[in-house]
Symmetry: C2
Subunit: 460 residues, 2 copies
Amino acid sequence: MEGLEDNEELLEAKALLDSHINDTIEDEMSGVDIVECLKIIKRHDEKSYFEYLHTLDIESLSNASIEMPDYILKDVIDLLPKDKLVEVVEDLESDDQFEFLENIDEIDGKKAREIFDDLSDEDKKDILKLSRYEDNQAGSYMQIELFKANANETVMEAVDRLRDLRHADEIDYVYHLFVVDDKDVLKYSIPLADLIIYNFSLTLEEVVRSAKNEDFRPRSALDTDDINEVASEFQEHDMSVMPVVDSRGVLVGRITSDDIYDFIQESATEQIYNLAGLNDEAEEEDISFAKAGKARAFWLCINLVTAFLASFIIGFFDATLQKYVALAILMPIVASMGGNVGIQALTVTVRRLALGEIEYKDAKKVLKREISIAVINGAIFAIAVALIASLWFKDHMLGVVIGLSMIINLSIAGFCGAAIPIILKKFKIDPAVGSSIILTMMTDIIGFFSFLGLATWILV
Amino acid sequence: MEGLEDNEELLEAKALLDSHINDTIEDEMSGVDIVECLKIIKRHDEKSYFEYLHTLDIESLSNASIEMPDYILKDVIDLLPKDKLVEVVEDLESDDQFEFLENIDEIDGKKAREIFDDLSDEDKKDILKLSRYEDNQAGSYMQIELFKANANETVMEAVDRLRDLRHADEIDYVYHLFVVDDKDVLKYSIPLADLIIYNFSLTLEEVVRSAKNEDFRPRSALDTDDINEVASEFQEHDMSVMPVVDSRGVLVGRITSDDIYDFIQESATEQIYNLAGLNDEAEEEDISFAKAGKARAFWLCINLVTAFLASFIIGFFDATLQKYVALAILMPIVASMGGNVGIQALTVTVRRLALGEIEYKDAKKVLKREISIAVINGAIFAIAVALIASLWFKDHMLGVVIGLSMIINLSIAGFCGAAIPIILKKFKIDPAVGSSIILTMMTDIIGFFSFLGLATWILV
């Protein structure tokens, strides 16, 4: 049965790729889809997989290029002739060229340099420009290809140039005309929907001046702006493209909605993974999992140290535990509830910091909220647990001990859950990385210490 | 000091809003920014806050409308005259009209109906159309306003109508012309950048036929499609707008990039929150936190039950614990490491399911990967813990016991972490909701049972 299912999957992937290659498919396949098919075919039939790599045309390869996981990219650069790889890179837009070359460079630095050397001077210049930016800067997300015009040109002249660009297939997704002055400083951004309705013999400056109700002042990003801020601007102002300027105001590129989808999606994945002690880049490889395993082991190692710290605390109270075995039975409850209350506060705070809903200056407000919730829930669950424990072990004082320690632990858990990410953020450390381990260390230690300490004091 | 800081915050918010109202600000404020200012002013100076609500013009109110938290929206509907509210709704686009009226309806159903009754017939019709869709359907995210033309119209005629629409400020963000036949069935989608370069006296049908290299067949969504699929299409094909058709192919609306930003962001927040036992809607309120506290208490309650289950398991072994207090000291380590290994596998699986990277049919592959990583890491940490425990308590057999129980618990944790979300998804239950609680219940119970069980068997 298993063999049959696998075979079906393989046949389906091959049929899809065949109809894509022979152009008999209704909708063009996206790069993501092509890579999905290649993954399946490689898994079941390595020989066909190599044939498909050779058969795919430049455009398909370039669409798929930046979606390829390392193990497929490795085959591509090992197998395809350098000239074909150069053509694939040339078919990409500047931001994707840069990303693809970076991916190749990680696998085979020599090959990346060889490909780079064979590119046109213009492509080389664009890639070098993009390579100067930090990973989190708007510049590293921008595309250098854009459609711009001088304010003194007529609409007609601009449209003629657009026609040439479109016919040469040089640029996609043009929704705005960026208007610059003689020094290439960005002055206006005119949506094509507005441009199209004016007299084509007017100059762009005249169009702007004759439009009374419209505001063509551009909302632009500085190339050194944090991409996080830029993504927020896109969302707040419902934008689909934003021009990027340098410190002198010169138009240097544009960021489009697809960059923003990817950024939002990837930042969220990074946060979710970091909170769970995972590394998002290491988890990307799904064939070899040595990288993922190692990255996870790192966090497990830290967790082991904190777990031993907690055991060490318990060890102080061995005499008490020997006397009251009920304490050993109940102590995981205090730790587990503390951990959960803390993780709730931590997760809300990490996410709201990431979304820009709160900042360091809101610390007081956030702490007040999180502590209030933790204290109220702490009190309710402390009473519940105290009652159950009293009845179970027929010992009222045991109930008092566990109730008190839960109030202490859950309140501190709420405080730490909110405080840890805010403090990390203040010191410019990613509040999602490692914060849950610090938190559970604190809730474990405080939970065990308060419970066993109070027991030693009150019961013994 | 505190008073001063607060005062500064208030003054800044007032100054911003004032310059927005008097139009002396460079960049127009977004709805999000306006709401942020209102929140601050309400916190410190209720009287000014009410004045600002009255002073803000229709456009600012409509920009801010769907960004308002319930407690501000409540003031708005209590304070502003119905006529003004009707104008605010009329200024919105259909999807936002629908969302805003829904928000009002949750606070004051009677007011929502009154406002609805006063809207124009066309607005009413649009809102009723949108209200027929389920929350997760593409139709409920679409905007009904769009720019379309008949295939037999000339480019010039279409542009003239666009001019009228733009001058009447009826439509924004037009980047494509949707071309329909006489029955309103969608035939083509022509980017304005392409439309503009053709002879304006051609009909749209002629434009499409004369364009040899271009493919104007539209990539559209069905109104009943899952919005998750639509968002993936946007990302895979770098789209900024997608036409929406009904089952007959009739063009009924469009989805734009801003809907997709919001959807991606909100789904990610929902996943992060659900994994931590939080409800994303309950957490939105940041003034009153009764709702958030109650939602959190629900998950804490379930966690308490599972924690008592774990205690119950420990209770079976009270005789063993009494004899070997070292077991009580070490047992949290087995549970904590198991929980962490499980959460790593769970988080990766939940996120990859959400991103569509894996499906039920990939279960075998995913389980293989996660179990492999868990078993290898399990073995490494089992040996480490066994050695430390042996040395600490000078008892080799204790080391053997904890080592064995860690291998068992960590392997099962990896398996459960991957299996639980895949099974939940198979039964159409959100794999992020409740899965971490089920998981830690299993790792706690298996951890304690295997450790104390092995100890009773081997040591006693």
